[in-house]
Symmetry: C2
Subunit: 143 residues, 2 copies
DNA sequence: CTATCATGTGAAGTGCACTTTAAGTCAAGC
DNA sequence: GCTTGACTTAAAGTGCACTTCACATGATAG
């Protein structure tokens, strides 16, 4: 029997069969032939799926992968599609990095607190301000 | 009329009233007194809520804030609670940073592709390997 | 006195990326 | 012939952090 069953595609790509059907439904992978209701995949689908996996790892949502696949004029080469999408995604990634850095700052800042009761603690009062805890560690340059 | 209405608390904290009720339901803020079915808040709730906001900004989930509030012995000071929670959260933040860096790498790596047809493109084949596109830009040190 | 607004409740809805379930079909091995 | 396992479908469920809805009631302004 020629072609790959959905189970074989799942095994080779690391996806679950349910995810493959879902991707098909979302239009991310072409509808395969059927042998008596069963899907039979051309091996090229493996390449499609690894491109999808790459895009997902790079942070693209399913909707964005749809755009990558179908949101351009048919003769737009993959290189151009990727560049268009990747450009704005890089901006988002940079923003997310900043959020994480702020989280780091808040976490370490909060760790300096020495308060024994919540009522004493002013960590939460003025955000970004360097002095938070009443009796405690440091105070300086607070606006 | 003494105390704050839920609308006033919402206005002062930037939360929506629905979020305040939700936090109450989740046990993040103490149940306020009622005046004839209406909630009446002591102003100290503002401090509670800004601590919650801080924790949320620092990346704690609602469940983690619950732990922060109620997951320790009653005499554990806030400083110790925060340090315990922040330590593991900092590890997660660092991991998330690495994920973002990998995303950046994948995005810029894919932007080097010059392929005109998806079939030519091997970006997706061997991940982390530096040569991806057949006719194109560069190839070097690929394991 | 009445219209309007804020508030009360429980239940259901939202978005995302799938997974799980229920109920049925098909091919192969014993 | 029968069981087992892989497969089929549509529909519902998951997790998170809320929001929205429908409907009831209380407070306030004119």
């Amino acid at each position: 029997m020629q072609g790959l069953s959905i189970g074989e595609v799942a095994a080779q790509t690391g996806l679950q069969t349910s995810a493959i059907r879902y991707y098909e439904q979302m239009g991310l992978i072409p509808k395969p032939q059927r042998h008596n209701t069963r899907r039979r995949y051309d091996p090229s689908v493996l390449q499609w799926i690894s491109l999808i996996n790459l895009a997902r790892k790079a942070g693209f949502s399913i909707a964005e992968v749809q755009t990558l696949m179908h949101g351009f004029e048919a003769d737009t080469p993959p290189s151009e599609r990727w560049q268009t999408m990747a450009h704005s995604k890089l901006v988002q990634v940079a923003q997310q990095m900043q959020v994480l850095q702020q989280m780091q700052a808040l976490l370490t800042y909060g760790m300096q607190c020495q308060c024994l009761r919540l009522e004493d603690c002013r960590i939460s009062d003025e955000q970004g301000c360097n002095e938070g805890c009443s009796g405690a560690t440091q105070s300086e340059g607070c606006e």
